[in-house]
Amino acid sequence: MTASATASSAGWRLKQPSIIPGFGLTLGFSLAYLSLIILIPIAGLLWRTAELGWSGFFAILSDERTIRALYVSFGTAFIAALINVVFGTLLAWVLTRYRFPGRRLIDAMVDLPFALPTAVAGIAFASLYAPNGWIGSLFMPFRIAFTPIGIVIALIFIGLPFVVRTVQPIMEEIDKEVEEAAATLGANRFQTIFNVLLPGLTPAILTGFALAFARGVGEYGSVIFIAGNIPYVSEIAPLLIVIRLEEFNYAGATAIATIMLLISFAMLLVINLIQAWSRRRYGNV
């Protein structure tokens, strides 16, 4: 190694020295696999979009049906994530703080949306909330299934564990002393919860919201059965991609996919920023 190479390697170094072997092998394999499975295919998608040019891209995106589909996807995902923030936080509280029969079972069941295949959830919701279903019939003549409300219901199911599982560990770490401190300073229970505990949970709640929202926007399997899929009304963006593909309209599918992908990236960025901000300010998430 030449002197200049030594000098430069002291200034910039890929990895800190370590006696543990296997760095080259494991990182090399990981990067190769990541590139083959994820990065190259995504790059292909972006490449196809670039071929459309700005005008072609915007022409597809400004199509009324596309706009409505994106609006439905983002709107329902947003509402569902909001509802999940309320009930997910409540559920996390009940599970961490209270002891009641069946708590363990319920705690385990919160992960059901992670484990249950989306198509199964989809047909179950569709038949439950259909006008002749167990729950749907209770609400007649108000219709739940085959409207955007049905989509929101499916997305609440999909997003719930994201909020609970992000908030729960932070809640478990709350030091009882903090609540007692608030009480000695004269705060009643309501003030302690809303002025002390919830603000401390804000980063976790926001992260949970962002995760549930991101997942909801892209969700397909659990939604299409209950949505009714009426163009302009209850047609979600991922379904429109599938429809465009079936029409062999690759350009149309690609453009919608790209805009959704970009928004996913933005959401990831937001999540990372929340976590970094929270770490900087509060020491941890």
């Binding site: 170094r13 494991t26 295919p41 564990p161 995760l211 892209g218």
Partner: protein, 286 residues
């Protein structure tokens, strides 16, 4: 307690009994509508016409083919992602290097991409309009609307599960054990096999369970690349959809009930691992 005026005082870091009751009841009602009833309805619908019809729906040749295909796809996709998960978490947890945070973000990427897009990228890569597709086809290799495409899409979607489970676990454990083993003369492989692996085995198992559940249950990505050829490229979730759209409810829910059972077994094992080996064995978000 003789002095009953004190009974009204409760722990200042606690809610009153009635508040608790209301909150628990509210949570249970919410869960009933969004978790329990849908789950129960799957089994009720599946057995609506009795065990005989249920069994028939499962042994029907197309359903049986779908079950076999689903098992095959999972048997390929899960080991691939297991190897990747081990390699990536070793590199990330045991070393400090530039761009690590970015790499972790990339690994998480499939979590935040719509499954439909995960399928679409392979359609674009291997479809008739692409460069690769026709070229492979000239050698007789079919990717799209065939098993390889389904495997690829499944690998994409289940890519982060094992790595996501292992990275925080291995980061928590640090490098002390490995350094000790190496200083005692163990080789790299011996260190991994005798020291690292026993430390992470439960987390690894949990990651594999989740990865498997998702691999068998994936719908969106697979539906885009499969072409849904009955008996050939139809996985169980796709078969559920076809049956449902044909208004063959009992058969649809019968196949769905198998998948629901898989989910329940996964959750039961997860809970068991947590109870048995502490929360550290199974945690993290997915």
């Amino acid at each position: 307690m003789s002095d009953n005026r004190r009974i009204s005082f409760r722990n200042p870091a606690d809610e009153s009994f009635s508040t608790k009751l209301v909150l628990v009841a509210l949570s249970l009602a919410f869960l009933a509508f969004f978790l329990f009833l849908p789950l129960v309805s799957v089994f009720v619908e599946a057995f609506r016409e009795g065990w005989g019809t249920y069994e028939e729906a499962l042994v029907e040749p197309d359903a049986w083919a779908a079950i076999q295909l689903t098992l095959t796809v999972a048997a390929i996709a899960v080991p691939l992602n297991l190897v990747f998960g081990l390699a990536a978490s070793w590199a990330i947890a045991k070393f400090e290097f530039k761009g690590k945070a970015f790499l972790i973000t990339l690994i998480d990427l499939p979590f935040s991409i719509s499954p439909v897009i995960s399928g679409l990228v392979y359609v674009l890569l291997f479809g008739s309009g692409s460069l690769l597709g026709p070229w492979l086809k000239s050698y007789g290799i079919e990717i799209l609307f065939a098993v390889p495409g389904i495997v690829l899409a499944t690998v994409f979607v289940t890519f982060p599960f094992v790595a996501r489970e292992l990275i925080p676990l291995m980061q928590d454990q640090g490098t002390g054990d490995e350094e000790a083993a190496l200083s005692l003369g163990a080789s790299g492989w011996q260190t991994f096999w005798y020291v690292t692996l026993p430390n992470i085995k439960w987390g690894l198992l949990y990651g594999v369970l989740l990865c498997n559940a998702r691999a068998m249950g994936e719908f969106g990505a697979v539906s885009v690349v499969s072409g849904r050829i009955r008996g050939l490229t139809n996985t169980m979730p796709l078969h559920v959809e076809i049956l449902y759209n044909e208004y063959n409810m009992v058969a649809a829910f019968a196949v769905a009930s198998l998948l629901a059972l898989l989910a329940l077994v996964t959750l039961a094992l997860k809970t068991f691992l947590e109870l048995r080996f502490g929360a550290g064995a199974a945690g993290g978000r997915h």
